[in-house]
């Protein structure tokens, strides 16, 4: 079967066009919320325990507050972004582009590893559980999944630190390298990535486990599977070749919808593990009402979600020949 590349290209093109109004609405909404926000960026800039005089505060307000209505602010932000300038972060005293460039790579690494990990773990455990529905393995995997689904990622993170760093002393409790080292070596990176990635994986995996389990279990009762079994096809082929294939379809849509959850989970996990990703910047931007940085990060997350949905649809189309990419 040859891949329908022209259809794929058309889908990508259509989605890119559709992304424009979405981004417009999201960023405009973000500026509207900013304008309505009761938080005072000057107060945040000055910080607690300051004894700044009225004169200083007025001067800062003059320098820091954008002019005009939120639509005008948004328009001037948009035009400068299109010109390649993302503006200046108030909270971090840096250009926004520098803030993002310095950190986004580490966040991507963490999210990608965790995402791939949770999909693989989800598929493996889901298939195993579905094979003997109601069996001990199924019951163990399912109840564990429900429990983990309810567990907040930061709690899992603290638990993991307590177990692996404190009790067993096999993995570092945080950071990107040994606290006293500057250079990032592959070995030390892997050791430091292990816990945050594992926690994020485990917090995301239950969704995939439960979806795959359900999908595969349903597929096992379908006619093609029964037919294959009747023909004496090996159980392994039945399970992986027939049941998993059709059971995976709902999982592919899940891929797209899990992206926002992944980002939220990553924010918490990065904070607990002092991971130098975008999370600390996001938390900073939000708590110090740093709107230029927040606008860029909001647009970035919106893009990530759109990209996730596109990926899910593409995979869906490629996996199921009945689906017409031209209709998505």
């Amino acid at each position: 079967m040859s891949a329908p590349w022209p259809a794929v290209a058309r889908l990508v093109g259509r989605r890119l066009l559709a992304a424009v109004p979405v981004l417009v609405v999201v960023t405009l909404g973000m500026f509207a919320v900013a304008a309505a926000s009761p938080f005072d960026p000057v107060r945040r800039y000055v910080g607690d325990g300051s004894s700044a005089s009225q004169e200083t505060l007025d001067a800062l307000r003059e320098n820091l507050s954008p002019d005009g209505t939120f639509v005008e602010q948004w328009w001037s932000w948009l035009t400068s972004v299109l010109g390649g300038d993302l503006g200046q972060s108030l909270a971090l005293r840096q250009p926004v582009s520098q803030v993002i460039a310095e950190r986004v790579g580490w966040s991507l690494l963490l999210c990608a590893v965790a995402f791939v990990g949770s999909v693989l773990l989800g598929c493996a455990l889901g298939v195993l559980a579905a094979r003997r529905e109601g069996g001990w393995l199924d019951r163990a995997v399912s109840s564990l999944s429900y429990t983990l689904q309810a567990a907040p990622p930061f709690w899992l993170a603290l638990l993991a630190i307590w177990l692996f760093a404190l009790q067993l002393d096999v993995l570092p409790a945080g950071g990107l390298t040994e606290a006293g080292e500057d250079t990032v070596t592959a070995g030390s990176l892997l050791r430091h990535l292990a816990l945050p990635a594992a926690v994020l994986t485990i917090s995301q995996a239950p969704w995939f486990v439960l979806y795959v389990r359900q999908g595969v279990a349903d597929a096992l009762h379908e006619d093609p599977v029964r037919g294959a079994r009747a023909r004496g096809v090996s159980e392994r082929t039945v399970l992986l070749g027939h049941a998993l294939r059709s059971g995976l379809l709902p999982v592919l849509t899940l891929v797209g919808t899990r992206i926002p959850e992944l980002i939220t989970g990553a924010l918490l996990v990065e904070t607990v593990f002092s991971w130098p990703g975008i999370a600390s910047a996001t938390v900073r931007a939000a708590t110090s009402t740093d709107f230029p940085l927040l606008a860029a990060l909001t647009a970035l997350s919106a893009l990530a979600v759109l990209a996730g949905n596109l990926l899910a649809d593409l995979l869906y189309g490629l996996a199921d020949p009945r689906v017409d990419l031209n209709e998505m």
Partner: protein, 535 residues
């Protein structure tokens, strides 16, 4: 067969991931740097701090109270907070009228990029901070400065707008390099993250949100530090910081007293408690009919059980506060301590006509003895102080409603409602008292939040900041404190100790009396450049 290909690809990726994970686990802790706990000589230190600085540029306020590690000021504080020359060769010559300060500068100092340090850098630093385009929230501290001029390559002269006795204390402010910072936007330029200073350490890496790495400056004019690497790990969560200290990841950490207690029996780790000028106080606004009444103020001042607050809220890590100046400070007016005396408080209220009314709450001329006390939402320490204060007040018949809100909400109510405020700068009594009490500053920004107005206090505050005579200043601030005890427009509750747990591996570890702000600069590592590695 796309799906099958997908699954096979997945299996391969899974195998790789598994391999990677095993490789990741196979070398636990064999290449640790300065990490592992216990004693012994170590020439590096890893410190866990809670707050990351926004900038490392002195032009935007980094290190304004000294101890910046990367920079030096003209002067610096010693462990007793006495002033010593740093980039200046001696303490400044002050003119007769107190208006000009002349600092001769060291000639043998270079910035870490090799450019020599001259008077132009000093002028650049101060002028940039005072420039109205510079978003430095602390520029008000340099308000007395009229001008700063170079007197040749190796001396600077400050001219003040009015005589200001504590001015020299402000010149611990770090000096930035004009060569490195001069050409860029001061508010967002790269100097904020890649500072170039003359200090004992140079920044080698700042991994934002993770850590700040410093390395000894081998050419430091004061001699290369023995502790060669200083890493500030940024860990906002108290529990995680404690955990990483316990796991040996950190050598030292800032901890709240309840978590520090857990390290009491840990071998090789010591708990260090630093006194601070960091007070917690309730503002009693002058324009509120209840809190503006002197009898109510005095009664509340006596009704509050400060010792109990120190014991129960601070777990002993603090001291009762009677005004902004800590009782341990030489500037503290002896004999102004007030004992917990609810009976006397009740008597004062009776005498002033506040009669017990419905529900045990006092009234006078139809005015119930009640007011609202705010604390910033999320600040647990202030919340506990506020609740304890309200409960003590209730015992003498004053009804306080405790509410929490963001500063934006509180700001608008400072004139009528009380707030649990905090702050403190130990360097000079003027820094402590002037902004808090001076009438003209009532409601000006974050100054004098209680709208305190007392001409007798104003007069002494003016005298204290203008007089160049130490004895005269001491008398003025003593008078301020006695006046404040008579008319306590703030109920001062506690001074908070800052608690640190660190490995016992170096000699020369001391503490200063610390300001409100602590972490990177202030803490037992305030002078890490002078520590000696124990052999």
């Amino acid at each position: 067969m796309t799906v099958r290909r997908l699954v096979r690809g997945g299996a391969v990726a899974g195998a790789v991931a598994a391999l990677v994970a095993t490789a990741g686990c196979s070398t636990p802790g064999d290449d640790e740097g300065g990490g592992s706990g216990g004693g012994g000589g170590r020439n590096s230190v890893v410190v866990g701090i809670a707050n990351e600085p926004e900038t490392l540029s002195p032009l935007l306020g980094y290190g304004k109270d000294g101890n910046s590690k990367i920079f030096d000021g003209l002067l610096r504080h010693n462990d007793e907070l006495g002033l010593e020359p740093a980039l200046a060769t001696e303490l400044p010559e002050v003119s007769e009228d107190g208006l000009t300060y002349r600092y001769p500068l060291r000639e043998d100092v270079a910035f870490s990029d090799g450019t020599p340090f001259t008077s132009a850098d000093v002028v650049f630093t101060y002028e940039t901070i005072l420039d109205e385009g510079t978003n430095n929230p602390n520029k008000g501290e340099l308000d007395p400065v009229e001008s700063v001029e170079a007197d040749g390559e190796h001396a600077v002269v400050f001219t003040l707008k009015y005589p200001y006795a504590p001015f020299a204390e402000r010149t611990v402010l770090p000096i930035a390099s004009e060569e490195a910072a001069g050409d860029q936007d001061v508010n967002t330029g790269s100097y904020n993250t890649e500072p170039v200073g003359t200090g004992p350490y140079v920044l080698t890496d700042w991994s934002a949100g993770e850590r700040i790495s410093l390395e000894a400056n081998p050419d430091y004019w004061g001699g290369a530090p023995e502790v060669e690497r200083v890493t500030m790990a940024i860990i906002p969560d108290d529990d995680v910081r404690a955990t990483r200290l316990r796991s040996g990841d950190l050598d030292a950490a800032v901890l709240p007293p309840n978590l520090a207690e857990g390290f009491a029996d840990e071998e090789g780790l010591t708990t260090i408690t630093a006194e601070s000028a960091d007070f917690r106080a309730v503002t009693l606004p002058s324009d509120n009919p209840v809190t503006g009444d002197i009898a109510v103020r005095r009664a509340l001042d006596l009704a509050v059980d400060r010792e109990l607050m120190v014991e129960s809220i601070l777990l002993g890590a603090g001291h009762p506060a009677y005004n902004a100046i800590p009782t341990a400070s030489p500037w503290f007016a002896e004999g102004t301590e007030r004992a917990h005396d609810p009976e006397e408080a009740a008597r004062i209220l009776e005498e002033a006509g506040w009669e017990e009314g419905e529900g045990g709450i006092r009234e006078r001329d139809g005015q119930r003895a009640e007011f609202t006390l705010w604390y910033p939402a999320g600040d647990r320490l202030r919340q506990e102080h506020a609740l304890a204060y309200a409960s003590d007040a209730k015992d003498v018949g004053v009804d306080i409603t405790v509410e929490s809100g963001s500063w934006e909400v509180i700001d608008g109510r400072l004139a009528e409602d009380a707030v649990l405020s905090g702050g403190g700068d130990p360097a000079d009594p003027d820094f402590q008292l002037y902004n808090l009490l001076y009438s003209e500053l009532a409601g000006n920004g974050y100054n004098n939040m209680a709208h305190y107005r007392n001409p007798a206090v104003d007069e002494q505050l003016d005298l204290g900041r203008r007089s160049g005579d130490q004895a005269e200043r001491a008398a003025a601030y003593e008078a301020v404190q006695r006046e404040l005890a008579e008319n306590p427009g703030y109920t001062f509750l506690t001074h908070i100790d800052h608690v640190y747990v660190m490995a016992d591996a170096w000699d020369g570890v001391t503490t200063q009396v610390e300001p409100h702000d602590h972490g990177l600069g202030h803490g037992p590592w305030w002078n890490v450049e002078d520590w000696r590695v124990r052999s």
